[in-house]
Symmetry: C2
Subunit: 366 residues, 2 copies
């Protein structure tokens, strides 16, 4: 598998990030603005930027970051509505394909795209391929939380709509490795999302997954806290929340939607009367402090786990701030040597998993 | 089936609500305080209160509502940790059993309990039984929303962890009936919770459910808007969100947890500096306005749908305000003749459902 991570040592050398500049809702200008923001904050990042050469050359020159960027021309872009199966067959020549290719051939450590999620996962799967021991890759997101680091990791939030007990156990291993390298937690606490925390609650297949994860906790260097509920997601009970991609996607979007609703209600409440508008002015610092803690752009970036190479999916609607947050995440993971550590962890846990009971008989067809 | 609804006409006569006073986390004092609050607001409600007679007599006398309440002695209470299967076998003599019995024998129109959800559903199932045409009862909750009525209906939020395509179609019919009678919507908009709104996304069984719901929309007098995502829950796209009890429970608790997290962050933001504390004082009215819109106590009350009799499940930790909200909901449903309308709607949709394709081959075993 062609994949080079010449630089897992922090701070030693520049990190190369591969950027798909064409896929987002706001077009390449927002992506390049995000690159410029990251470039000015962090002198250690170098970029390979994929997309329409003439457009990108102009945007990058205007931002005066030509010396930080290599441009790779890609004549086509993947549209948001394109079916993943179609993109898998006809994706060559797109900026997304090209961005993944830079990770595949070892030029870059991590790829970042704000394009079509399904297509990005499909292309990442066929081009980077799964690491040994992983049956189903997952997308991990960060979730605002009461725990000391301020964020939880939740996975899968939408790589696939299903996951059996062994998949969920691999999610636990991969999520713990991500929390260790992305959030700096030595021994993350892992929980399995279920309805009710009692042993007798939830779907039958949950029990099998719970047993497997419990058995893998030593090899995975994590603490298994058992079942967690939706209300525990932002709690200090857990650092890594394991669930299937259907439930995780709905939980993620429900949380985001609720936060947005409350934010809008808050604005309306402060706009209601002249006095409340004065209060809002005085409260501005406090409200900004709040906004910073729950701003979805700050936690922008779903990470694809389980492939030979790391891919960060930014929100389709990401602006410069959101894109810059995704690039920062990509940089942190690249710097920590996350990819190699994750692969080693999954491999070492393989034997522990083989000893654990597997009561789940469902098929593993993709 | 013994069940009397002598009074479906609004405003004509008093409505009798049956209350399980013993099951909640805060004990019978909080429940009786909620009864007193409702009694003072609404002269049309009469209560049958179930639990320890001496305790209840004292609490009810102290609140001066003896003339509004009949007390029914029940020597035992169902504990929060008791398994539903155990309560089904040994539940006779509990206040929960007794409260359901008042609906079963027609003394009361709706029962309200803040006890153990699983036990309440199990007892309601065996004592009230399912209405003809319903395979799986559901729990419906109200969700703060941007739509004109301020709330959505979501179901199932935890009666059962699974639901096949035909169950989901029945949830659509029952949820639409609930929205019509509980929220006053002539023709509710119904959506099916999924990942992604495109036709090709989500689990395969979703497509079968979507076809069934679409075919039932005329008989059910609702508009089917297709798939909705987690982010659409609080939107003005939809009034009734249909999902299985596993996903619905996690979405509900995730939404509640997110709202609580933001509320706590907001408090911390306003407590951070002396200036922000002054700002908070000035902003008090605005913040109270916000709190009122998202206060979970205002939407307290999951309604069990699909049984011969209506049961409202209040939050286990409900205080007087929360309990009073659950009683108000019970009163509204009783007054509208909801129970009979729901049964009629499910029956009339039966023929429409038989004509619709059913691609789902899963078993209906409970």
């Amino acid at each position: 598998m062609p994949n080079a991570f010449d630089n897992p040592t922090p701070g030693a050398k520049r990190i190369v990030i591969s950027i798909d500049a064409m896929g987002g809702d706001r077009g390449p200008a927002a992506v390049v603005a995000g690159i410029a923001m990251s470039a000015s904050k962090n002198p250690d990042i170098h970029f390979i930027v994929h997309g329409d050469e003439s457009v990108l050359t102009r945007l990058i020159r205007r931002r005066r970051i030509s010396h930080r960027c290599d441009i790779r021309h890609a004549p086509r872009a993947v549209a948001m509505h394109e079916k993943p199966s179609h993109v898998m067959r006809h994706g060559e020549g797109t900026s997304m394909w090209s961005a993944i290719e830079s990770v595949r051939n070892g030029e870059a450590t991590v790829a970042v795209s704000c394009g079509n999620t399904g297509a990005l996962m499909a292309l990442s799967m066929i081009r980077l391929r799964k690491i040994p021991g992983v049956n189903r890759p997952a997308i991990a997101c960060l979730w605002p939380s009461r725990n000391p680091q301020g964020f939880n990791v939740m996975l899968d939030v939408g790589a696939d709509v299903k996951a059996d007990a062994e998949d969920l156990c691999q999610f636990a291993l991969m999520g713990a490795s991500y929390a260790r390298n992305g959030l700096g937690l030595d021994r993350p606490r892992v929980g399995l999302l279920n309805v009710g925390t009692e042993e007798n609650k939830g779907r039958a297949e949950m029990k099998a997954a719970s047993d497997l994860i419990s058995a893998a906790s030593d090899a995975g260097s994590f603490d298994y806290v058992g079942y967690v509920e939706g209300g525990d997601l932002p709690s200090n009970r857990v650092d890594v929340i394991v669930t299937d991609g259907f439930t995780g996607n709905i939980a993620l979007k429900t949380g985001e939607g609720t936060a947005k609703l409350i934010g809008d209600f808050l604005k309306e409440a402060f706009a209601a009367t002249p006095l409340s508008r004065i209060a809002a002015l005085l409260a501005l610092t406090s409200l900004r402090r709040l906004q910073k803690r729950i701003d979805p752009r700050r936690v922008n970036g779903g990470v694809f786990l389980g492939l030979n190479g790391t891919v960060v999916k930014s929100h389709g609607s990401a602006d410069a701030t959101g894109m810059s947050a995704a690039i920062k995440l990509a940089f942190q993971l690249a710097k920590s040597g996350f990819q190699e550590r994750l692969a080693a962890r999954v491999a070492s846990a393989g034997s522990a998993r083989q000893d654990a009971p597997n009561e789940d008989g469902s098929s593993r067809a993709e």
